[in-house]
């Protein structure tokens, strides 16, 4: 069953944070929010039934926690491993949100995660933002957004206030 895009992104993100990295987030409002500085961000591009990308950004406290929990490390792994862990988290979120948005019959091919610098939350030329969620956990915050190319099948509920979020997250 297809879900509205924001609900799907929230579900995929929450499940992935909980199961993959053992962090337990709560959703936060986006409207009127003041965001903490972003420590790292990645994009996972995809093609197939639709073309787009999922962007994931985290604040400083979340980044080492991802790698520590995924690897079971006693101390924070180095910066590269921390970014790799963020990339894998983004990859799993992407793989889980697409069938929720587009249905289980749709076939997608995911690209490798790439660092998104500067802030990933501005739609690029030809893109529209179709969902954004903000999560809070003990270690900090995470922002996730789903962008798709104009002209394809359009998931609904693109977030109002996205421009303000984009400006704050950049």
């Amino acid at each position: 069953m297809q879900q509205p895009a924001t609900t799907a992104l929230l579900r995929a993100a929450t499940s992935t944070f909980e199961s993959l990295v053992l962090l337990f987030p709560e959703p936060l409002a986006i409207e009127g929010a003041e965001f903490l500085p972003i420590a790292a961000a990645v994009d996972v591009a995809y093609g197939g039934a639709q073309t787009g990308r999922v962007a994931v950004a985290v604040t400083a406290g979340v980044l080492p926690a991802l790698a520590e929990n995924m690897l079971g490390a006693a101390a924070a792994p180095d910066g590269q491993l921390q970014r790799d862990a963020l990339g894998e988290l983004a990859n799993v979120v992407t793989g889980n949100v697409l069938p929720l948005v587009h249905g289980a019959a749709a076939v997608f091919r995911l690209a490798a995660p790439v660092a998104a610098i500067p802030g990933p939350f501005h739609p690029r030329a030809g893109e529209r933002q179709v969902a954004m969620v903000r999560l809070q956990m003990d270690e900090g915050e995470a922002l996730l957004a789903l962008f798709e190319q104009d002209g394809g099948a359009a998931p609904d509920d693109s977030g109002a206030g996205a421009a303000r979020v984009a400006a704050a997250a950049a």
């Binding site: 790799d84 894998e88 793989g95 069938p99």
Partner: protein, 142 residues
Amino acid sequence: MTLNVLVVDDSAVMRAMIRRTLSLSGIALGEVFEAANGVEALQRLGDHWVDLALLDVNMPVMDGEELLSRIRASEEWRALAVIIVSTESSDTRLARLRAHGVEIVHKPFTPEQLRNTILQVTGLTHAAASNDSASSSGDFDF
């Protein structure tokens, strides 16, 4: 008995996580080999005896679906126990993969899901697959 396992995933972090999950699963492991894509995986299979392969789907150079086709087309490896460990959710693609006689563990996964699927594809009982240091209760400290 111990299992030699090949973990194929382009993410070094995911390979490390799967290796860690395997070590926590209570399954008696022999050697655990790693490969970052299908080409490397075929090299490992050629160099080492492997009882079980855990394959990602989306990988550069040679993806998991092509790798699986090569394995099943090979006289030497066609009976290899294979589990797909992937974010792949497309019914279409999953049906193609299952047609090759594999089981699928969806990311994110729990140690229990991975262990139960390993027992399923290898045909081992929990007792036969367990190592001495693992809890016999089936619980995990993860």
